[in-house]
């Protein structure tokens, strides 16, 4: 197993290099050093001389990929691409346009993201599974039909509407919770209540349907028929057998999500002013702070690959028949 994990990590390296190359190309086309200089220097009394000076002092005057003037390994390493992108592998993200260490910012902003994402995931999971079980229990009745219809309807509503109406009704009209903001510690609860609720409701539609299909597949299997033949009640079958057996796909489905939880939710965080990585990313895109965007792209890719790896491992853990090769 360790050999497998190590091999997978080795596989990830060329992928990450590819990601880096791609983002480097993408962002340097959009954001030339000249642009960066102007962003830093402001618009009012900037001179071309000041721009050139900025480019030199910040090391953007190097060649892009290959430095013919340098010696030995420096031919590759003393270049913009190497300096800007390869250091990401050591999680050295450099500084943003505002002069702050990105690594430090990320480590700080990760926590609010998790504080929102984990409760949303757990509550959503619990609620979805529960509702799906209920619908399966009532399969073939009007309740099931209506349930599915409501799910599809919920799926058809843009997440933006949930956020906008949630804020308007619960926070503005009813004054139950602060409309936005964040605080660390226990008082975070009152700020997180609404975004968590919104994200749970927005996720109900697809979640319940997904689990419902899962359970329905399970309930048609032979062992369920046997159990029913033994005279077990429907509820007992559902909770004892179906849920237990469906747990494997449920859990592995969740495992793949875990690393990406760190990245936070773009929309919720920026609407509710939660200082997590999601709003960090959106702000960076809007302010065209490409150092941050590049770092987030890299981080996102790492976490994605990690998620895939974790899923594979968790498969073997829950089901010994699956062998990694």
């Amino acid at each position: 197993m360790w050999a497998y994990i190590i091999r997978r990590i080795l596989y990830a390296i060329p992928i990450l290099i590819g990601v880096n190359l791609l983002t480097f190309l993408l962002f340097f086309v959009v954001n030339t050093p000249q642009d960066m200089a102007v962003v830093h220097l402001g618009d009012r009394y900037v001179t071309q001389e000041a721009i050139d000076r900025w480019i030199v002092t910040n090391g953007y005057d190097k060649p892009t990929f290959y430095n013919p003037k340098a010696q030995g390994i420096d031919k590759i390493s003393d270049t913009l691409f190497y300096q800007q992108s390869m250091r990401l592998f050591t999680f050295n993200f450099g500084t943003s346009d505002t002069g702050r260490e990105i690594g430090h910012d990320i480590s700080e902003r990760m926590w609010p993201s998790l504080a929102l994402a984990i409760p949303s995931l757990l509550l959503g999971l619990g609620l979805n599974v529960m509702l799906a079980l209920l619908m399966v229990l009532f399969r073939g009745t009007q309740i099931d039909t209506w349930g599915v219809t409501i799910c599809v309807a919920l799926m058809s509503i843009s997440g933006l509407f949930f956020i906008i109406t949630g804020q308007y009704v619960l926070a503005k009209l009813f004054k139950w919770v602060p409309i936005s903001g964040y605080e660390s510690g226990l008082s975070a609860i009152k700020f997180l209540a609404l975004p968590v609720l919104v994200s749970v409701i927005a996720g109900i539609g697809s979640g319940v349907r997904w689990y419902r299909t899962l359970f329905l597949e399970e309930i048609n299997k032979d062992y369920v028929r046997t159990a029913r033949a033994k005279g077990l009640s429907d509820i007992a079958i559902l909770f004892k057998h179906v849920l237990k057996n469906a747990l494997i796909p449920i859990l592995t489905g969740v495992v793949v999500l875990i690393p990406s939880l760190f990245l936070g939710s773009l929309l919720l965080e920026s609407f509710f002013a939660i200082p997590g990585l999601g709003s960090y990313t959106i702000d960076a895109i809007r302010a065209q702070d490409f150092a941050i965007v590049r770092s987030m792209v890299f981080l996102g890719s790492v976490l994605y690959i990690l998620g895939l790896l974790l899923t594979d491992i968790s498969y073997t853990l829950v089901d010994p028949r699956v062998r990694l090769n």
């Binding site: 959009v30 642009d35 962003v39 830093h40 220097l41 402001g42 618009d43 009012r44 009394y45 900037v46 001179t47 001389e49 000041a50 721009i51 000076r53 900025w54 030199v56 002092t57 346009d97 505002t98 002069g99 702050r100 260490e101 690594g103 430090h104 910012d105 902003r109 209920l134 229990l137 009532f138 009745t141 009007q142 309740i143 804020q167 308007y168 926070a171 503005k172 009209l173 009813f174 004054k175 139950w176 919770v177 602060p178 409309i179 936005s180 903001g181 964040y182 008082s187 009152k190 700020f191 429907d234 920026s270 609407f271 509710f272 002013a273 200082p275 960090y280 702000d283 809007r286 065209q288």
Partner: protein, 736 residues
């Protein structure tokens, strides 16, 4: 009808039932939606918001209004603007009096005070600062008994415990000396700092340009590590532009006569900077933790930055070392009535803390303000449209706000928003009569008054030229009207009729919006920045509608900021929108926006229209050397006449800056040029607490309704389940 009354009675019954229930439940007196943490101490705290993350808090770099809101309270330059007096006036802040001026000729011979401007080669400003001014407590100053700095060479172990600046146990202070002011001026030339005003100041301060070249050369010889940190010890350097006379006196030598220079001395660029701070922050371990001068200022002002979390919150707290400074005793006559002079002579500042919360979305910001969680709302007019209703000829507060006692403070800001024509463009540019006619026609078609009504809720004044009211050279009334766009009727300017614009258009060679030669429709291009702001779409459509009035098509080329800048610099743009807010209240700071040598293309200057008119340029050069007076006014009138005829801009409007304050705020006066006004503000925390409670009782009946609804939903489920079970049972019985 009967049915109706029954149902309302029924509704009322349910309502009162729920209300009763909700009143019974515990904690109804509690507020649930307070976004601020409970205030345990008895400090007087003001809550307000910021929408834009400050980028730089270093006084050598910071230039944006979003930043000066913070550092204006922390750093103090030698001069400041008087809080109450209008027109805006400079007064000493860290200086003991206004700087003294002496003129020299090219051979450094002292000239008389009334010397001819052409004779004057240099002006020397001598500034004497107040003795005994202390910096805020800061680890950079901390020394041990031997007089060695405690934290200038931090060990790994020391660093381990440090997460922010307040984690250093020993924090000391030092007296401000003239050296610190000189040090800061030298920092303007420091290559790694890239001060935004270096380019401009190099033209004015003697030797600054050469000095920056020297520093740049030396910087490139620094070891890689130092270069990365961007640190240079500037103490050994001197340059002719700045001279320290004694501990409390220094001189700045300016090229020629530059009467506007004292205004710069009221900006944070000229605040004192202790060299210890720079040396302290130049440590790799601190930089890794984002502890840098840009984020943890070292100032002398009434406040220090207690919490710096630009992602969420910035907190200014009272500086214990702040010297005795007092509320002004002098004001305008109307200030007395509104209570602005009530605190006269009292010691500043009044507030213990100012909490700024980051609010990027306007709905939460607005809602929190209405709920009483912000004392001041300070964002631009765009987000305040909801606040105003138009009643009987004037915009006033919406009744909902009036009932809450909210006050509105508005003032014309020293800024202008305009639509410019790129004068290099073959279609809209040019200086021939027909080119002029086209631009004038467009200026008439662009109904600025409608723009102000729709997008600013009447919070602005249509501009007649580049100079806004309150600044020398602005003329109100008939004389001040731009005759190419307006006539004077019924004691107010009246936009010329569209027919006139159509005539002009025909003169320009485009009768009815069609090219007279080819018959093709005239298509113009509007280059504009798009930021994803929701209002943009409406603005673009409005622009198109204006030109459609003349049967001209408008192609909107919206791009991001970088691309827009590129277009402007290469002279590719055609019609564009631009804004300028004054650095200082002087007409020169507006008229130079059209000065030829400042042209955008080629020199990256502020003349974004690339307007070139030799007569205007000559007049501007004369104006530069003039002190306020009738001669200056006369030249301004001439200049205005020239640019109105050429109309390189559609003059646009002077926006009104306005802020809303809750009833518990003491009287305040908006000041558009001073950024350090928080020290004058007061708050009645008692009233605030009561009103907040009153305004924020949670409405609970929907909660109960929701619970009830859920229970009701369970009912059919139970029924179905029961039926199903019975069916199964039935089947089983049958089988048996």
């Amino acid at each position: 009808m009967i049915l109706y009354s029954i149902s309302t009675a029924y509704n009322r019954g349910i309502l009162s039932l729920f209300l009763g229930l909700s009143l019974c439940c515990a904690g109804c007196d509690e507020i649930w939606n307070d976004p601020n943490p409970a205030n345990q101490t008895n400090e007087v705290i003001m809550y307000t918001d910021f929408s834009e993350r400050p980028k730089f808090l270093d006084p050598a770099k910071s230039y944006a209004a979003a930043e000066s809101r913070f550092i204006g309270q922390i750093y103090e330059p030698p001069l400041q603007y008087h809080y109450l007096l209008r027109p805006y006036q400079l007064e000493p802040l860290l200086a003991t009096q206004m700087p003294s001026m002496s003129y020299y000729d090219a051979h450094n011979v002292l000239l008389a005070e009334n010397a001819e401007p052409t004779q004057i080669a240099y002006t020397v400003y001598e500034i004497t600062i107040k003795p005994g001014v202390l910096y805020q407590n800061h680890p950079a100053f901390s020394k041990n008994a031997q007089g060695e700095f405690l934290y200038h060479q931090l060990s790994q172990q020391q660093l381990h415990h440090v997460q922010e600046i307040n984690d250093f146990p020993i924090q000391q202070t030092r007296e401000v000396t003239a050296d610190d002011f000189a040090y800061q001026i030298k920092r303007l030339a420091q290559p790694a700092l890239n001060s935004p005003i270096l380019g401009l100041m190099s033209k004015h301060i003697v030797g600054l340009d050469e000095f920056s070249q020297i520093l740049f050369a030396d910087f490139n010889h620094l070891p890689e590590k130092m270069r990365e940190m961007g640190y240079m010890d500037l103490r050994p350097y001197t340059f002719p532009g700045v001279e320290v006379v004694d501990k409390y006196t220094y001189r700045i030598k300016v090229i020629g006569k530059y009467p506007q220079f004292p205004y710069w001395l009221a900006m944070n660029f000229f605040a004192p900077m202790p060299w210890e701070a720079e040396q302290f922050y130049a440590q790799e371990g601190l930089i890794k933790k984002n502890i840098i001068l840009d984020w943890y200022p070292v100032g002398t002002g009434p406040y220090v930055l207690a919490v710096n979390n630009p992602n969420r919150q910035m907190v200014l707290a009272r500086n214990p070392n702040f010297r005795a400074e007092y509320y002004p005793t002098e004001g305008m006559p109307e200030d007395v009535d509104v209570g602005l002079l009530a605190p006269a002579g009292k010691r500043l500042p009044f507030l213990d803390k100012i909490v700024f919360n980051l609010e990027k979305e306007s709905i939460p910001r607005w809602t929190k303000f209405l709920q009483g969680y912000y004392d001041l709302s300070s964002v631009g007019s765009d987000n305040f449209q909801q606040a105003m209703v138009i009643n009987n000829n004037s915009a006033s507060l919406a009744p909902e706000l009036k009932n809450k006692g909210i006050k509105v403070y508005s003032t014309i800001s020293e800024s202008i928003f305009y639509w410019g024509f790129n004068m290099l463009d073959p279609v809209v540019g040019g200086y021939e009569d027909k080119n002029r006619a086209l631009r004038q026609a467009l200026a008439i078609a662009m109904d600025t008054e409608e723009f102000i009504a729709i997008f600013l809720n009447e919070q602005g004044i249509a501009a007649q030229g580049p100079i806004p009211p309150g600044i020398e050279g602005y003329q109100s009334g008939k004389e001040g009207v731009n005759p190419y766009v307006y006539t004077w009727k019924d004691n107010q300017p009246l936009r010329l009729p569209l027919e006139h614009a159509r005539e002009l258009l025909a003169q320009a060679g485009y009768p009815d919006g069609r090219d007279a030669q080819t018959g093709e429709q005239l298509v113009l291009h509007y280059d504009v920045i798009t930021t994803g702001d929701p209002v943009e779409k409406a603005r673009f459509a409005w622009m198109q509608k204006q030109l459609n009035k003349l049967n001209i098509d408008l192609n909107i080329r919206a791009t991001d900021t970088n691309r827009f800048r590129e277009k402007m610099s290469t002279g590719y743009a055609q019609i564009f929108s631009w804004g300028w807010s004054a650095d200082y209240p002087d007409p020169e700071n507006f008229l130079f926006l059209l000065y030829g040598p400042n042209s955008r293309v080629g020199t990256e200057g502020v003349n974004s229209a690339n307007y070139q008119n030799p007569v205007y340029d000559k007049l501007y050069e004369q104006l530069q050397n003039l002190d306020a007076g009738p001669q200056k006014d006369q030249i301004i009138t001439q200049m205005l006449a020239i640019i109105r005829a050429d109309s390189p801009w559609v003059w646009g409007f002077y926006p009104q800056a306005y802020s809303l304050a809750q009833v518990w705020n003491g009287a305040l006066k908006p000041n558009e040029v001073a950024s350090n006004t928080y020290k004058y503000y007061t708050i009645d925390a008692q009233t605030r607490a009561t009103l907040r409670k009153q305004w924020n009782r949670p409405i609970l009946w929907p909660l109960l309704l929701a619970v009830l609804g859920m229970l009701l939903l369970c009912l059919p489920m139970a029924v179905v389940y029961w039926r199903k079970n019975k069916q199964v049972h039935h089947l089983r019985v049958k089988e048996e």
